[in-house]
Amino acid sequence: MKKFEAFRSRIVPLPINNVDTDQIIPARFLKTTSMEGLADQLFFDWRYQEDGSPKPDFILNQDRVKGASVLLAGDNFGCGSSREHAPWALTQFGFRAVISTSFADIFKQNSLKNALLPVVVTPEVQASLFAAVEADPAAEVAVDLAAQTLALPGGGSVEFRVDPFSRHCLLEGIDELGYILQQEAAIGAYEARRPHSIDTLAQVS
């Protein structure tokens, strides 16, 4: 994984609450056995007409957000299905952070493992960002994970919190599995004292 570095970006506003992962990437695209090639399927049913042409009024189809890597969402972003295809599609499209007042638990964990930063802000900051991008589509934020600050378009900045472990892994580009496998001694000791419960390999009637 690449190290997560500070960046500035314009903002893609998506003022909808409870955006579920079925909208982020519809289930019919989950038949793939790969994790690549999902950018075109991001928000597919909101993004494209029946004939495959882009819907001009959907935000991702507008020129003003080209190259933007911050999504500004309504409350409870990423609810529903556990599909990790959602953060895969978002990052492959070019997003590096999503700003919301809250994230669904599974989506948040999946995002942190894929260098997509969930930035939790207060409802007031969320509202001010929606207002700022409405007033000036070129408004930018700066995301600094090391400092855990979000610099706002009108000047000033707010702090956000990312748990220290995920932050460390993102900043250093560390894969969590490496850390888990380092705990081999503890895992072995747990297994040794753990009571036997099931054996799926056993022949059963």
Partner: protein, 466 residues
């Protein structure tokens, strides 16, 4: 100190803790299916790793599997490739797998319990958000992403932060026509789809105790629709009775020892929860959703909300957007609205008791000629049991389709789906836009409401059925 069952389960599974890092917890059962595992197996291959505990891992094919006659070829080449990949990956890594022709194949959350793989006191994970189903047994069960599937395959462990606890107390007695599905839809309509975020539900109270194991599974199944990754019911005699004699359940002295252990699990007297809600079972009515998330539900006799009466602008916008997608008008009832499809199935409501309930309504009646009714059993075992009881004949005589086990139209990956603009009453768990087919419109409800609607041809109250 008094502890909740949630804390007992957590404490007994902590493998390693280090300041500044999440806890490493052990996973007792890892269930695997075709959709969220191929990239995880590839990750193992790329890193030269093996599956650490194939004996605690079990796979089946459910999401993209067709529900037509299984002797026919799979027409969708991408689905076929994914199903073949599951079986090939399981062979390569030594994981037991009930593939497309497996005699124990079925929806992963149906077969885990029915095989006795799911047991009280366990941690259970699966790359599927409805893993909370297994919480019905007093297990800490939750959905994970594909990276975490790889972590568990490689280490049998998961990095986790401890969740907060949320007591959902349901006391009283359900009235006729009101089911477990209505309990959970009522809860979610009250707390919203984000209400349980960061929490694990413990469902308690006399109405929960009175539920069968299959009904408890229906309740726990939809915990994630209220934002909680897990939801559970403490084990009791109903749990032990259900498990006894199941293929993977312990036997003899091991059974007695296990039951003695399981009896220690229930929440201690005086243990505190971070959050609490009480629901009066006596006051519940059959529930139905009108919108595009499972929290947008109402008692079936009530009108859908009028957006102009909602103060919060973003919330008003959400309801307006949902009603626009659904083609509904605020303030009007759903009762009497024509539907095109009725789906009885999914990990929420495809078990034998669900099929019995639907069949009892449909027996001797005909479904409306305007409605396509699909009945999809949750597993091969459910299907066999249904045959033993003559249920397929009941469904077919009424004019329903009786299909092969799988997730089917709950997730609409396998060709079973709503056409754009169609309305469906579904016993599944999600009414998100396009969930059951692009442009399709879903009303979530119980098997009783689904069966009554199938007969009437429009949204119907089973209590009013002539």
């Amino acid at each position: 100190m008094s502890r909740t069952i949630i804390e007992k389960l957590w404490d007994s599974h902590v493998v390693y803790e280090q300041a500044g890092a999440p806890s490493l917890i052990f996973i007792d059962l890892h269930l695997v299916h075709e959709v969220t595992s191929p990239q995880a197996f590839q990750g193992l291959r790329d890193r030269g790793l093996r599956v650490r505990r194939p004996d605690l891992t079990f796979a089946t094919a459910d999401h993209s599997i067709p529900t037509h006659d299984r002797s026919l070829p799979i027409l969708d080449p991408i689905a076929r490739k994914q199903l073949e990949a599951l079986e090939a990956n399981c062979r390569e890594f030594g994981v037991p797998c009930e593939g497309i022709h497996g005699p124990r194949q079925g929806i992963v959350h149906v077969i885990g319990p029915e095989l006795g793989l799911t047991q009280p006191g366990m941690t259970v994970v699966c790359g599927d958000s409805h893993t909370a189903t297994h919480g019905a047994f007093g297990a800490l069960a939750f959905g994970i992403g594909t990276s975490e599937v790889m972590h568990v395959l490689a280490s049998q462990c998961l990095l986790q932060r401890k969740s907060k606890t949320y007591e959902v107390r349901v006391d009283g007695v359900l009235k006729p026509g009101v089911t477990a599905k209505d309990i959970i839809l009522a809860l979610i309509s009250r707390i919203g789809v984000g209400g349980g975020t960061g929490h694990v539900f413990e469902y308690r109270g006399s109405a929960i105790r009175a539920l069968s194991m299959e009904e408890r599974m229906t309740v726990c199944n939809m915990s994630i629709e209220g934002g909680a990754r897990a939801g559970l019911v403490a084990p009791d005699d109903a749990t032990f009775q259900y498990l006894a004699g199941r293929p993977y359940a312990p036997t003899g002295a091991a059974w007695d020892a296990a039951v003695a252990q399981w009896k220690q699990l229930p929440t201690d007297e005086g243990a505190a929860f971070d959050k609490s809600i009480a629901i009066d079972a006596d006051a519940l009515e059959p529930m139905i959703t009108y919108g595009t998330n499972p929290g947008q539900g109402v008692p079936i006799t009530q009108p859908v909300p009028d957006p102009s009466s909602i103060g919060d602008p973003m919330e008003r916008e959400s309801v307006e957007k949902a009603l626009r997608y659904m083609g509904l008008e605020g303030g009007k009832p759903l009762l009497g609205r024509p539907v095109d499809v009725v789906f009885i199935g999914s990990c929420t409501n495809s078990r034998i008791s669900d099929l019995r309930a639907a069949a009892a309504v449909l027996k001797g009646r005909k479904v409306s000629p305007n409605v396509r009714v699909m009945v999809v059993p949750g597993s091969q075992a459910v299907k066999r049991q249904a045959y033993d009881e003559g249920l397929p004949e009941v469904f077919r005589a009424a004019g329903c389709e009786w299909r092969e086990p799988g997730c089917s139209m709950c997730i609409a990956m396998n060709g079973d789906q709503l056409a754009p603009g169609q309305y469906g009453v579904s016993t599944s768990n999600r009414n998100f836009e396009g969930r059951q087919g692009k442009g399709g419109r879903t009303f979530l409800a119980s098997p009783l409401t689904a069966a009554a609607t199938a007969i009437a041809g429009h949204v119907a109250d089973v209590r009013k059925l002539q």
